[in-house]
């Protein structure tokens, strides 16, 4: 009974309905290829969403993830092209992401700018400066097979992006649910003063939240670059909205204090299966915008009702 009352169960129910409906409509839905395709495109979103879940739980948000991701694809391709070393490419990417995460975090905590605004500004800055870095898309001229493997390869018949996501996932499930840091993030989001007066260094954890998110964007960005085989400015357009919508759909509160990684995963799967189903059913792709919009509002509405009843 308790399970039936949780937000996850509502999402799970929606997900199950979707799957049943789609498999009736088109048996191809359960083809291994289709499942690969859904999981592959989900995993880049999920990886970033893990960080976003932490941020939203601690009462912050990062709108710059999409712009950063597109910047990452350019950097990683460029550096590997020039140096011929994947390691150097990764170092450059994570160094850059660390820097951006730190700046976001410090603007939030030291200048005390609302993170919605601070990261909106960062989004503009990154969107502009990626072109200042290079006007042209950066193509894969290094042709290192390992690099292509990151996004396109399979391990035990599982797409590599999914493998990477699965490696990262347990770390965040444990972090949020079983360590004190998870408690700190939710205490900071729920009542920052109480957290501070319990000896928690709020600002430090907020900065960490931004840095983690940026680093995860680095991971997703590298996968995207490998998948596109290109460093492409302007890619990942609107990515931030998808990530945030999925995390909110997953039951994480925008006001902070509550967050669940499992909910986030379910939220993303729902959105991605809808996207997939719309293509499978050959419905006009415009519905890829409308349906998630409706589901987002309704899911949060029902979650609110459930909470009210349980209080």
């Amino acid at each position: 009974m308790k399970f039936l009352q949780s937000n996850e169960s509502i999402l799970f129910f929606i997900l199950a309905l979707l799957c049943i409906f789609l498999s009736f409509y088109n048996p191809q839905f359960y083809s291994i290829q289709n499942i690969h395709s859904i999981l592959r495109s989900s995993s880049t979103v999920m990886i970033v969403a893990f960080g976003m879940t932490i941020l939203l739980t601690s009462g912050e948000v990062d709108l710059s993830v999409g712009a950063l991701m597109s910047f990452v694809t350019v950097i990683v391709m460029d550096v590997i092209n020039i140096s011929g070393s994947i390691a150097l490419g990764l170092i450059a990417v994570f160094g850059f992401c660390l820097l951006i995460g730190l700046i976001n975090g410090l603007v939030r905590t030291v200048l005390n700018v609302n993170s919605l605004i601070a990261t909106l500004a960062m989004m503009l800055i990154l969107q502009g400066s990626v072109y200042v870095y290079s006007m042209a898309a950066i193509y894969n001229t290094h042709l290192i097979p390992l690099f292509s493997f990151i996004g396109q390869g399979f391990f035990l018949n599982i797409p590599m992006p999914v493998v990477i996501m699965l490696i990262i996932l347990p770390f965040f499930v444990v972090l949020l649910n079983f360590t004190r840091y998870g408690r700190y993030f939710s205490a900071i989001g729920s009542n920052p003063d109480a957290a501070k007066l319990s000896g928690i260094n709020n600002n430090r954890y907020k900065v960490i939240g931004f840095v983690i998110t940026s680093l995860l964007v680095g991971v997703s960005g590298v996968i995207l670059a490998s998948l596109m085989d290109t460093g492409q400015q302007g890619s990942a357009k609107g990515f931030e909205l998808i990530v945030i919508a999925a995390v909110l759909l997953g039951g994480t509160s925008f006001m902070g204090g509550r967050g669940t990684i499992i909910g986030t995963i379910l939220g993303i799967l729902i959105l991605k299966i809808i996207d997939n189903g719309i293509i499978l059913m050959r419905i006009p792709q415009e519905f890829q915008l409308i349906v998630p919009g409706v589901i987002l509002i309704l899911a949060v509405y029902f979650d609110g009702i459930r909470r009210k009843n349980s209080d």
Binding site: T179, R183, Y184, A187, N191, D193, A194, L197, G199, D311
Partner: protein
Amino acid sequence: MALGEKIVININFKELKIESVSKSFPGVQALDNVSMKIASGKVHALMGENGAGKSTLIKILAGAYSKDSGDISFDENKLNIRNPNDSLNYGIKVVYQEISLISEFSVAENIFLDNFPTNNLGIINWNKLYKDTEELFNRIGFDLNPKSKISDLSISQQQMVEIAKAVFKNASLVIMDEPTSSLTPNEIDKLFTVIKNLKQNNIAILYVTHKIDEIFQIADEVTVLRDGQHISNKLISESSEETIIKDMVGRTVNATFERPVDISSAKTVMKVKQISSKNKINNVSFDLHEGEILGFFGLMGAGRTELAKAIFGYDKITEGYVEINNNNYKSFNTSTMVNNGVGYITEDRKGEGIVKDMNLRENMSLPSLKIFEDLFIINKKREKNAADDYIKKFSVKTPSSERLITLLSGGNQQKVLVSRWLIRELKIIILDEPTRGVDIGAKTEVLSLINDLAKEGLSVLLMTSEMNDLLSLSDRILVMADGKISKEFYRGNVNQEEIFKASVS
């Protein structure tokens, strides 16, 4: 808002009758068949411990809650209170304990918040607004500029605005919920003058307080509630402090504490040297000894809370240092202090104490999670056991440690917040108004708990405005005024007048 029908009332009435009013919340009978009569032109005191049902009754009268059964009437005219609007239209005005003003607005705007003087187009007549406010202030003897912004006023000035706002017109019944909790003696006198003024205007006053001495100064009648039930109703002339307390707690209370004689020879656990902060604190120094209860007295705005927060690392200090465990800290934050065995219990439980999205266990263990860790992972079993221990120790009323903190009553939440610090190894605890808003019975419990803890070797910084608590517990008393320490008193060598004198110097 002037939408919907406007209730026209005749506020000439002899008494407001509350008849057999009941209200229950899931699992709690907050009010059980309560009846009372409040006569116009009289001050009716309402007393009772926390959880006795006072606030529920106030909220029903104010239209914030709807009653389950019973009647409320002016003489024979039944009132139909469905929402705050109805209540206001009946002339029922509440002065809440917490400041509830719009801080960006002027004094005058706040006072006329529910009824701006406007023309037919809804355009505000500013001249009239300020003039009316000024007239009101003249009438009740307040000295405030109607154009001042609320955020520029002191807390006590804001409290005055709060009162003026409630009484300014059309009041039939004024409910005052702990109106003096943040006022200076001088301001309390002014308030009492206002109350007498209201009495003369035939307004009924329901005066809710914990301070028994006040009701003998101002009230005509007193009603006591306990556990949602009506216990007694007497004329003031017929009652005494003892009988009222007995009615409230169902037993007599004795509040004197034995303290060890010579605490100042114990070793020093904390030295505060000439600290100043942006937040009022100016060159404060003192030593704290092991097992000592060091009381800080000061009027509203003297800087007690600010001092507590500066020492605890919540506010940055700009000068001086704090010495603890042989370390000098010039720049530190709350985690520095917590790691050094310092705890802090806030006066603002809701705003700075509880974490509302967490359950009781998680609230309790928040500062001490490290001790429950097995290699980065929290051992929930040990954590739960610790929480259960304290639930038992303080008899916290809850079905389990997994209950959301918000579902607990205020008193029980406070117990959780105390346990939050006792669960770990603690050397020093900073208590900011630990008995504010706590009823007499629980107050004694809290005070004796503090005494016990100190006897076990815990050092206590006790910030309070309650003179009695201070005198009965403190080994030493530091009086604060204007962010500075103005005088030091030792136990057995104090008298109330001198402390007051030092606090206004």
